[in-house]
Subunit: 572 residues, 2 copies
């Protein structure tokens, strides 16, 4: 979280992660005034100006203007750089002779780099160890196989049209990823990241007693109604006792009381439950007014449950609804990128065996389908998007500093299991259409599919956790199901058809779900932002969106700019 | 809102608005124990039993069991009746001779009645004044025409694939409507009813000053971050001052403090803004950590804005996300019903001109396409779903009590306008993908389309309000656009292509968006729940889900049961 002390604002909204078309998205009407007039426009008082900007652009534009007007300080940690996509004609005739780029990895970073460089006429070729594009942005469907580093092979038996996203699964409103979906024509649909009908489930641990609600699934709907009801009642109580008189004017106290009444759904200042909790008998026809689900647990029971400490997840910058996914699986983005880059420019099943930076370029060796059969590709530049945990195992003549830097990041232990059920009991029995049940069990949560609603079967993600990595494939399913039964009852075991689990540390091309930088982004991180000779690095691990496709895209775009501008500058 | 005083519980969850298959949906594992053992099962302490039920079925099942165990009082106002769908073989040979039913209106109520009666072999025929099924569940597409009671005709010019739902537009997770979507094979998609990126917008009125944020669009994201931050800070302040010591144990006080820290995103107990507010510069690659949007307005400014009083909308029983809509428009449900009922069993363009209850049945006169050309249909029974405001204008020999009852309900004044834009600026400029901007202006809100994301154009609902009914078609567009410009800037006017507005009080077949019952559901409501001779009544106005398709369905199902069971009983 960034504190106000180091917060500033720029004329541009977050939405100016701009698409490659070069269009700058801004709050309507704010871009030009703020950009062209750092001071207050003639004939407008500062307040009037800010008000007008506010009217046109909303609060963020207003604060953006405040920053432009020097009303807010500028932080040291922000180095915003707009993407300047390479264009035809940027390069001199001599520079145009040095535009052959080999890109290592057909994940989102590698694909973005090739896609953007091609726009300026670069000759890009991608080497990919896997048999398909996307890297960790992997969608598992029936027929897909994975062989772990321990030699264990799984083949998915999901029914046609059913799948789960083993890697990234959500796209926030504000990520550049959506701009590429727009540009590449990838259709999106809602990814249900929050649903009033899904559950919170806390079971007691050796260290924590969650009280009477321990071991009881409680709907988000009820947990919110109860927490919001009681804290609103407590706010009124504090007001009555004058505890807030120093902070609030009489008018503000009245406004807070009115907010509390509304926010808590109180009756006469007390929380006694309300229909936000849902009904045990729905309202219906005639005289059926319905039966509200209640009474609510008492205040102490609600607080002991600690379920409210999970609410803020839904307000997070990157987790707040709405969220999105491509129709048909996350890998639709990678395949759309690959189509745009061109089949002839990507070699699959081609793991890299050596990287040599040379005086005038790069030489990369890779194996082809047949064992021991090695080929070499030469290029003027290389963009390497291979995860550091894998890259450090590949022979190269990269500098000792680079090799040392590659040793620093740690592969994060995480994984998912997809459980295919023959009946969508979460929909039919519990009215849960998409969404996530959050729990303190080691599954961390249960993801209900955000597609195929009302259908016959569905694939649930039964855990998102590193706790299952060292279990056998059979043990993973058994344990995940045993946890889910506590929440959904016997159906969670009885209706299971098949499953498929991914343990990212055991995936040879990844060796981790994403990276962590021990002690934060330090010298090693800084070092890898710079090219080593003719070898550039890119990937979500070199961004502030680690584990997001947007991080891979932003990093690739920065690397593309660095390479392109260096070439444009140096070549004479 | 129902107070605990009159709240009870039943063994069944709200999800037991059961589909017509007769399956009873219950929380897994709870149905039989609760139903079969009103007392505590042998060998289980009450607490253990409740815990087990809780484990299997969640909080609502737990309270359901408490009710079954007599731990909660039973209310007078709830008369839950499960739908018992008519079945082949229910009727005696003599009863089977009296199964011809004429149904007036091919809206959701009429279609449901025909669909369910046909399952038991009834011979149903529907008369519909309009040229299509669905009634008020109307989707407006290019080429659609409406002629108002004042003679004004509009023809929609929306582009192919673009539309808006002029009537019902949202389906909650728990409505029986989804069960029919499942049974009829109607594909659904998310209806975005809440979106962190959409705005709140309050402008000052003669009576209310909203303070510095008046006239400024504020994202839901920021309004929540600021309200939740400050009220959490106030809760901690109250705790520090011991104002809650009488209410909270030391442990509970600690738990509340921990909740407040998390819920408010506080730093050292203070709210100073945080990244939940969003960024003016998104985090990106390399050293771009992003720039959090801030600083937040002060506490008094936030309270003056009164935006927090709108939060509870999102927690409402019928409005909480997730919500749903059929892919392709709400009328996909009505057309699916109509297909199931059968073309040959529905006569369109057939407004009813007279209803006569007779000794052994019903005679209904209606006009056909050609003016003055009248036809008569005879049946054993009639189910009339014509809205009371229209029905009371149709000659009939219904009883004076019935005619008096039909005079009571008042048609509600409401309407919508669909504004087609050539660019989805709300998505491209503001990262708003679906959702609703809420305002105190007379448009009440702006609905962004929940389909066609990332596309070229889109249809926004520019108002949902009765304030535009008496304006001309041109004035409606002009006024709606002028309001929207205050929120979205010039694009809201400049990118407009075409519009279409519906004023429900002026739609001849509706004469209102829905009904209100002055003084509540009284004698008139009670009277219309009973048949008048062989004429039965149905519609959402005879339910506790007025203005929802679920109300029409529930009412139709109740009427079907009444008719069917009366016939089964009387015919010998």
């Amino acid at each position: 979280m960034t504190s106000v002390a180091d917060v500033t604002s720029s004329p541009r909204r977050a939405s100016t992660c701009i698409p490659t078309g070069g269009r700058v998205s801004t709050a309507p009407g704010t871009s030009s005034p703020v950009r062209s007039t750092p001071g207050t426009p003639d004939g407008l008082s500062r307040r009037t100006f800010l008000t007008r900007v506010g009217i046109a652009g909303g609060a963020s534009a207003l604060y953006g203007s405040m920053a432009a007007l020097g009303l807010v300080a500028t932080p040291a940690n922000a180095q915003p750089v707009d993407f300047r996509p390479p264009r035809q004609g940027d390069l001199s005739p001599s520079a145009r002779k040095r535009t052959k780029v080999v890109i290592l990895g057909a994940g989102i970073a590698g694909l973005t780099a090739a896609y953007e460089l091609q726009k300026a006429g670069y000759e890009c070729h991608i080497l990919e160890a896997r048999d398909r594009p996307g890297g960790r942005a992997r969608t598992i469907r029936g027929g897909d196989s994975l062989t772990d580093t321990d030699g264990v092979t799984q083949t998915a038996e999901f029914a046609d049209g059913h799948y789960f996203n083993a890697g990234p699964a959500r796209i926030p409103n504000h990520h550049v990823t959506l701009d590429y979906c727009r540009e590449l024509g990838v259709e999106i649909q809602a990814l249900v990241n929050a649903n009033a009908e899904s559950f919170f489930y806390h079971e007691n641990t050796g260290s924590t007693d969650y009280g009477p609600l321990a071991g009881t699934p409680v709907t988000h709907r009820q947990a919110k109604a109860d927490y919001y009801g009681y804290i609103s009642e407590l706010l009124l109580q504090a007001l009555d006792q004058g505890a807030l008189d120093d902070t609030l004017s009489a008018d503000d106290a009245e406004r807070l009381a009115s907010f509390a009444q509304s926010f808590g759904g109180l009756q006469g200042g007390r929380y006694v439950g309300n229909d936000r909790r849902g009904y045990t008998e729905s309202p219906g026809a005639g005289h059926n007014a319905g039966v509200v689900d209640g009474p609510p647990p008492d205040l102490s029971t609600v607080l002991q449950s600690q379920m409210g400490n999970r609410f803020s997840f839904e307000f997070g910058f990157s987790q707040a609804m709405m969220m999105w996914q491509p129709v048909g699986g996350m890998d639709r983005i990678s395949f759309a990128f690959a189509d745009a880059v061109g089949k002839q420019n990507i070699t699959y099943n081609a793991p890299v065996t050596e990287i040599r930076d040379t005086a005038d370029g790069v030489t990369v060796a890779y194996t082809t389908g047949r064992p021991g059969r090695t080929r070499v590709i030469q290029a003027d530049h290389c963009i390497c998007t291979i995860p550091p945990m894998v890259l450090r195992g590949i022979p190269s003549n990269l500098s000792t500093e680079t090799k040392a830097a590659l040793e620093v990041p740690v592969g994060v232990n995480t994984g998912k299991i997809g459980l295919q059920y023959k009946r969508r009991f979460w929909e039919e029995d519990s009215n849960i259409f998409g969404g996530i049940t959050a729990t303190n069990m080691d599954i961390s949560g249960i993801w209900y599919p955000s597609y195929g609603y009302l259908g016959e079967r569905g694939v649930v993600v039964g855990y998102y956790s590193g706790a299952y990595t060292d279990l056998t494939v059979a043990e993973r399913e058994e344990r995940a199901v045993a946890q889910g039964v506590k929440i959904h009852g016997p159906a969670y075991r009885d209706e299971l058809e098949t499953s498929f689990s991914v343990a990212w540390p055991k995936v040879p091309e990844a060796l981790g779900g994403w990276v962590s930088w021990p002690g934060g982004r330090g010298d090693a991180y800084d070092h890898l932002l710079k090219p080593d000779g003719n070898v550039y690095f890119a990937g979500d691990h070199l961004s502030h969106y680690i584990a997001w496709q947007a991080g891979a895209i932003e990093s690739a775009r920065m690397t593309v700019m660095n390479l392109h501008e260096r070439l444009a500058a140096t070549a004479e």
